[in-house]
């Protein structure tokens, strides 16, 4: 592990949020004026189970340094069971990325309900910090997409 903790590095974070819980949670953290870094960009999906591993890899390819998936708490899925599938899929995908030597702190799944504005902001701050420590994504980037 490098001692350099990449103080000046601003990681780009892509957050996939389900429409019913986490996107609403993100809205709530806005309503409550709770800060998190501007480099967190949210993509709205109907349910966390809409997130295809392709999207996550795509984000890393294009220069994201971290990808986080947020959905309803298990049991609270708007579609009953979507996040249960998400959980299995992402557990396996992240395990595979880890297996390939991609830093495990670059990916995360977090359950954030519509009422958890504070949790959303805290999660984003925490995740950004974890990714910042890792430095830029080099192991899963596409050199062709690197900004000159």
């Amino acid at each position: 592990m490098q001692v350099n903790d990449n103080k000046d590095f601003q990681p780009l974070i892509v957050a996939f949020c389900c429409n019913w819980c986490s996107y609403a949670g993100a809205d709530l953290s806005g309503t409550n004026r709770l800060n998190y870094p501007a480099n967190v960009k949210i993509i709205r999906v109907p349910c966390s189970c809409r997130v295809n591993p392709m999207f996550i890899l795509r984000a890393f390819q294009r220069g994201a340094d971290g990808v986080i998936l947020c959905g309803c708490h298990p049991g609270d899925c708007h579609y009953t069971s979507g996040n249960y599938f998400t959980r299995r899929r992402m557990t396996l995908l992240f395990s595979m990325l880890d297996f390939l030597g991609i830093e495990r702190d670059r990916t995360r799944v977090e359950w954030v309900s519509a009422a958890e504005g504070a949790k959303f902001a805290a999660t984003m701050n925490e995740f950004t910090e974890a990714v910042r420590k890792l430095g830029p994504n080099r192991r899963l980037e596409d050199l062709r997409c690197r900004k000159q």
């Binding site: 557990t91 297996f99 030597g101």
Partner: protein
């Protein structure tokens, strides 16, 4: 065995049970065996072969063959029957149109391992009580049989036929195999070491698609990697990212469906141990969601189309193994 199989095939052709036989056909040399369809007794007599090199899993051909008119006889090794079951489960084959004769499995030989010993000019390979006598134009060479066994056979998971209409010989059992040893070894490496290992392996990929095209789980009508509208289509690993992506997505698409038949690694011209990716998923599935063997039956729910309310969280990845 070969004799018994030819006789069985001839009998089933003669009594009208089947109209075609899928098996293996001898080649130019001792080892270059091609899967083939036989329609007559004469063809069988002339070209049918079953020996230490008939390792190809013919179950994928049944996707096409079982759609044709008339029943097809398939000689399946234990590992191949798992593939067929999985295909049956996914409605990719018409099982009613297939007559499966279970035949004993390997261990089969890997000609590449013989050649890697520097043996060349090979004109014949004989198994003499587990010593291979290899005839070459430069004289005879010998090597222990087990040093030339295919990797997939060396870590055989099962000698049991999970589906068949008839057996030649005895059925075997599911084995305790060491197939996860290498996965475990990698898991115990550091993240950097794993990264270096896989970069070394995957950078060899020439994207010939042999792994995908041989894979009995990859029977999509149109693969996402060939579909210009999928957003991830590509023909060449133009960047290291694409080498990674192809293999990650492919492994993910077959996760919970891969029977671990090992064909991907067998056919890889670059010797990339692709089966390790699939085995990693199998190992994780077994550990996290309970033992699951794809193809063991035709009715169970695949792990990725299933869940329980108290499944582990994805953060389990952070808690395991070496950072």
């Amino acid at each position: 065995m070969q004799e018994a199989m030819i006789n069985k095939a001839k009998q089933l052709l003669a009594d009208g049970t089947v109209s075609r036989v899928i098996g293996w056909k001898r080649g130019e040399f001792a080892y270059d065996i091609t899967p083939a369809v036989f329609e007559t007794a004469e063809e069988l007599e002339r070209e049918f072969v079953f020996d230490d090199f008939t390792s190809a899993n013919v179950s994928k051909y049944l996707v096409k063959e079982s759609q044709k008119e008339g029943k097809v006889l398939a000689f399946l090794k234990p590992c191949d029957t798992y593939s067929l079951n999985q295909l049956t489960k996914e409605h990719r084959v018409d099982r009613d149109n297939i007559y499966v004769v279970g035949i004993p499995g390997g261990p089969k030989l890997d000609i590449e391992k013989i050649k890697a010993k520097g043996i060349t000019g090979i004109t014949g390979v004989k198994n003499d009580n587990y010593t291979l006598r290899i005839e070459t134009i430069y004289g005879e060479e010998t090597m222990p049989f087990y040093e030339a066994v295919l990797d997939k056979c060396a870590s055989c998971k099962s000698k049991k036929h999970v589906t068949y209409d008839e057996l030649i010989g005895e059925d075997g059992d599911v084995l305790e195999s060491n197939r996860f040893d290498m996965v475990e070894k990698l898991e115990n490496m550091t993240s950097q070491e794993r990264y270096d290992f896989w970069r070394g392996e995957l950078s060899k990929c020439i994207r010939c698609n042999a792994c995908r095209n041989v894979c009995p789980a990859c029977t999509c009508e149109n693969c996402v990697f060939d579909n210009p509208n999928s957003g991830i289509d590509n023909k060449a690993p133009a960047d290291s990212f694409e080498e990674n992506m192809f293999h990650i997505i492919r492994a993910f698409h077959v996760a919970g469906r891969c029977t671990d038949c090992g064909e991907c690694s067998r056919v890889c011209p670059q010797h990339i141990p692709l089966h390790l990716l699939n085995r990693k998923f199998i190992k994780d599935i077994n550990a996290l969601y309970g033992e699951y063997q794809a193809g063991a039956d035709t009715t169970s729910r695949a792990p990725l189309t299933n869940y329980t309310a108290d499944d582990c969280e994805a953060s389990v990845v952070h808690e395991r193994g070496v950072e």
